[in-house]
């Protein structure tokens, strides 16, 4: 329908959120919008979210991105889950897998059988040994899932760990090929419509004026349009998520290329380790109420493996979100609309969720308040559910070795989380909802991995006799190990499939 006049969309910010949005809009709504992205090279990009969730694959597919090409360009590795160390107690470790425990197709969920064995004192192996994703991760194996649902090799999914500073340029090339316009420059003024209060145009330092009908704020923490200009209030969640700083430092390593991200608990927060093809991302997320920047920097330098490639860099943030993400003719995507620490790799997922909702609710003949409300409702759901899941990691701990852990262990959590935990403790039930990113297996992994063990289990798990159950469990454990061991080594797989170009 080329006769229809196109909506003028202005995207502010050229980071991951900005270019993901621009690329998606030009690809999916080519006849509906003109996309003009404004970015300033003087302003650095945060480039959070080097680790992703499996949902990113659907996004890339929709954009027609070739996986191997994308992985080579962003020096990506595969990711089967997240390893958590020292969370429940110092010395504990578990993986939150992108996949099921057991075969994932039985009438009674696997963890009920596992809980029964535990209760009977039969010393079951750690629950991760019954998960393909977990076992492959610890063995450094990777292959793509088998489409045959009868096979154990079908019981996992995967995501990527990539260099976020390379993802945006990769998408930029794509978006520009498909017709997105880009202007380099610093925004000095945002022009509002006198009557309605909508945003009308941006004025750049160069004197250029860029007008538009729909403005997408991808300006990161600064939240130039949504926060600074339209003054949408920020809902502060630091009472539950007290971490407000991160110090980041990439290192060159020659250690194992793990197909998982690590999150290691620290005295005042936690530390990430994200292995890429060419380097390892490291960072310490901490609460400035419980440690100083200097202490955190020292702690990170002391803990990270390999040779630092760059000086440690400190970022400041606050957990929470803007009350609404879409206000007037401005949609906040990514950090401009809210921030949740990267503990469960949700940053890019949240960007993607906002883009998906925006495409589905894209204005036709003007912005409808109904569409805007629906957008905000969808985004709220995502944030609220991720929030509870993140708080669980802190709260479900027995650690009492530092004031930080004392605080999170004893703090009041939201009622919604309190109920979820009580329900799991009672009989291993996971509060059910299909909307929201983390499914049952994710909650089960964290609960059990952090010692929230059920008092009871599904009574149907009592059906097999103790011997039959024990034998079946140990057979499954052996089969998982054998199947996982037969898969290719992660590094070999990458070198065959998507090696990065050698650094010049």
């Amino acid at each position: 329908m080329s006769d229809r006049s196109k909506l003028k969309v202005v995207v502010v910010g050229g980071g991951t959120a900005g270019w993901m949005t621009a690329a998606a809009l030009v690809k999916l709504l080519p006849d509906r919008c003109d996309v003009h992205l404004v970015e300033s090279e003087a302003i650095g990009i945060v480039g959070v979210g080097e680790a992703t969730l499996p949902h990113i694959r659907a996004f890339n597919e929709r954009l027609g991105i070739d996986e191997a090409e994308f992985m080579a360009a962003t020096r990506a590795t595969f990711k089967l889950g997240i390893e958590f160390r020292d969370w429940g107690r110092v010395g504990d470790g578990y993986i939150h897998p992108f996949g099921t425990f057991g075969r994932g197709n039985s009438e009674v969920e696997f963890h009920h059988y596992w809980t029964r064995l535990e209760r009977e004192g039969a010393a079951a192996a750690p629950i991760g040994e019954f998960s393909m994703a977990v076992t492959m991760a610890y063995l450094n194996r990777f292959a793509r899932p088998d489409p045959n649902p009868e096979k154990l090799e079908s019981t996992f999914s995967y995501a990527y760990q990539f260099d976020a500073t390379l993802f945006a340029p990769f998408l930029r090339q794509l978006a520009e090929q498909m017709g997105a316009r880009r202007t380099e420059g610093r925004i000095v003024d945002v022009e509002l419509d006198g009557e309605g209060g909508d945003i009308r145009a941006l004025n750049l330092e160069s004197g250029e004026r860029i007008d538009g009908e729909l403005f997408i704020d991808c300006s990161g923490f600064f939240s130039l349009l949504l926060g600074k200009t339209l003054e949408e209030p920020f809902e502060d969640w630091s009472q539950w998520l007290p971490c407000d700083r991160a110090v980041a430092m990439p290192c060159r390593t020659r250690t194992a290329l793990t197909p998982y991200t690590s999150a290691i608990a620290m005295p005042a927060g936690w530390r990430w380790r994200i292995p890429l093809q060419h380097r390892t991302g490291n960072g310490y997320v901490y609460s400035s109420s419980f440690t100083s920047d200097d202490e955190a920097r020292e702690a990170l330098i002391g803990a990270a493996e390999g040779d630092p490639i760059a000086e440690p860099r400190v970022l400041k943030f606050q957990a929470g979100r803007r009350r609404r993400s879409w206000v007037r003719n401005c949609v906040g995507v990514g950090l401009a609309s809210g921030f949740l620490e990267p503990l469960e790799s949700t940053s890019i997922y949240l960007i993607q969720a906002a883009i998906t909702a925006l495409v589905e609710l894209f204005p036709i003949d003007g912005i409808s308040p109904l569409d805007r409300d629906e957008f905000n409702r969808l985004i709220d759901l995502e944030y609220d559910r991720i929030r509870d899941f993140l708080i669980l990691h802190y709260h479900a701990t027995e650690r009492s070795d530092s004031p930080f852990w004392d605080h999170v262990r004893t703090m009041q959590v939201p009622d919604s989380l309190h109920e979820k935990m009580a329900l799991f403790r009672s009989r291993g039930r996971v509060a059910k909802y299909r909307e929201g990113v983390f499914l049952d297996a994710s909650w089960i992994a964290v609960y059990i991995g952090q010692r929230v063990t059920p008092d009871g289990y599904d009574m149907r798990a009592d059906l097999p006799s103790a011997n039959v159950l024990r034998d079946a469990m140990s057979a499954l454990q052996s089969e998982v190990r054998a199947r996982a061991s037969a898969l290719p080594d992660h590094r070999d797989y990458i070198e065959r499939y998507c090696p990065m170009a050698e650094a010049a």
């Binding site: 709504l29 006849d31 409808s368 109920e419 009989r427 509060a431 059910k432 008092d455 009574m459 059906l463």
Partner: protein, 483 residues
């Protein structure tokens, strides 16, 4: 605190399919339970036990308890059911078929309905339901067999035979049967749990858990005086007259639901039984007018319990949700509630936190069924006072949300515990002529010529729908056999 012991014994009370289905499922899926059924006369208002038309979910229930299609179709004189023909719900429009499974197929990643909405006027397309394989089969009167993933079907039951099957199966599994009226339901003084049932002969029966399948009277559960959510302002029909006798082969695999001045009538048939009746609002038509129907009107009031499971008593089916049989959801709700009860069985203490999750899911499911039934009234287009009154009431919030989003751009939001698929919603909305103002801009990605070609291909494939013989369908229904 030591966890409470497991539930060891269950008493099911009721007189029909609901009660026998619950007893059979409990005994089959949790064999360690002692299950006793106190058989009382079937309540007149127990619609789940009295409607012959069922939804596709019935096959999942059968599979869960180990019954095969051979048992339920051949053995109990049922037949496959493809859908309902809705007549007269929107006066100026032709009747439409609500069948199960897909309506059309996506083209170039764009939902079929969006393209149909965009092009149907300009391209003079057939109505929306002409793109549903199941509706096509149902309309054509061809034998109701499955030959495609896109066709789903329920059953038309012969109620006596089906009830007998369920009873025989439950007894075979080890359920015990007590034919005796219930005199009294006694509560424990300390915690308010049901202590025992006193029967007509003065004996009493005790169990850890009581399952109330006694229909709208809810003989057990009513002891708790749980609040009711009244739906009558949205669903004003409160009378039902049921008739029916000999089988009528003319119906084939499709039942009929026809709107009239003050309500609606149905007509359906299984291989050995026909069923028909009238549902209406007593405020708009007096019983004496009797609408030309023979039979005693059954009075009911639509709504649901606030909590289905209270202490050690769970109400199922019409004991928990009273809803008119439009779209045949009564027995479907029973099956779904039974499955939830089995898979969320608490310990003997019936911990409130566990019951709360059970109740939350049951309530959400019932409310969405209410919304779907209510949708038919909201979108009806008829001039009579009854219909005008029904359409004038502001719908429940969740339905209003759906309708406003659909009206805006043909989008239907996802809800938890949804019974009917998006295509079912579309079948009713578009069948009754409710069209959105605008459509999804993503539809631009498919040029009209491409869509045109896809529409023609879909229609051609439906017209020559290849049908396997009835013998092929039986194993397909239950591919893994008894679990």
């Amino acid at each position: 605190m030591r966890p409470a012991g497991p539930i060891a014994s269950v008493i099911v009370a009721g007189g029909g399919i609901t009660a026998w289905s619950a007893a059979a499922a409990l005994k089959r899926r949790i064999p360690s339970l002692q299950v006793a059924l106190i058989v009382i006369p079937l309540s007149a208002g127990a619609l789940a036990d009295r409607m012959i038309s069922t939804l596709p979910s019935i096959h999942g229930f059968h599979q869960d308890i180990g019954l095969t299609a051979a048992d339920t179709i051949g053995g109990a004189a049922s037949d496959l059911r493809l859908g309902t023909l809705f007549e007269g719900w929107a006066d100026e429009l032709a009747p439409y078929v609500h069948a199960y499974g897909a309506y059309g197929t996506p083209v170039g990643g764009v939902s079929f309905h969006q393209l149909w909405l965009r092009d149907h006027q300009r391209a003079s397309l057939p109505p929306f339901d002409y793109f549903s394989p199941a509706a096509e089969l149902a309309r054509s009167g061809r034998p109701p067999t499955a030959g495609s993933d896109s066709v789903e079907f329920g059953l038309q039951l012969t109620l006596d035979r089906y009830g007998e099957l369920m009873r025989a199966y439950a007894l075979h599994l080890g359920v015990t049967e007590h034919r005796m009226g219930i005199q009294d339901v006694e509560l424990r003084t300390d915690d308010g749990f049901i202590d025992k049932l006193t029967l007509d002969d003065g004996t009493s029966q005790r169990a850890d858990l009581y399952v109330d399948c006694t229909g709208p009277e809810a003989i057990l559960h009513s002891r708790f005086q749980t609040p009711l959510f009244d739906w009558s302002k949205w669903l004003p029909c409160d009378r039902l007259i049921m008739t029916g006798s000999e089988a009528d082969p003319a119906f084939g695999s499709m039942d009929r639901v026809t709107a009239f001045d003050n309500g609606w009538r149905w007509a359906a048939s299984s291989p050995q039984q026909s069923s028909s009746g009238t549902v209406y609002s007593s405020a708009h038509a007096s019983d004496s007018e009797a609408l030309g129907e023979a039979g005693e009107p059954i009075a009911f009031r639509q709504g649901r319990l606030e909590d289905f499971w209270v202490r050690n008593c769970v109400a199922l089916g019409d004991a928990a949700v009273m809803i008119e049989p439009l779209e045949w959801t009564n027995l479907h709700l029973v099956h779904s509630q039974i499955d939830r009860m089995v898979s969320m069985m608490p310990a003997r203490d019936c911990a409130p936190i566990e019951l709360a999750e059970f109740n939350r899911q049951c309530a959400a499911e019932a409310d969405r069924v209410r919304d779907f039934v209510c949708l038919h009234y909201v979108c009806a287009r008829k001039p009579e006072r009854f219909w005008k009154d029904a359409a004038a009431v502001a719908p429940p919030d969740s339905l209003a949300h759906c309708l406003s989003l659909f009206a805006e751009r043909g989008r239907l939001p996802y809800h938890e515990e949804e019974t009917f698929s998006r295509d079912s919603w579309l079948a009713v909305l578009l069948g009754q002529g409710f069209e959105p103002r605008r459509i999804d801009p993503m539809a631009d990605l498919v040029p009209p010529a491409d869509a045109q070609l896809a529409f023609a291909t879909m229609r051609r494939s439906l017209e020559s729908f290849a049908l396997p013989s009835a013998a092929h369908v039986l194993p397909e229904l239950n591919p893994r056999g008894v679990r």
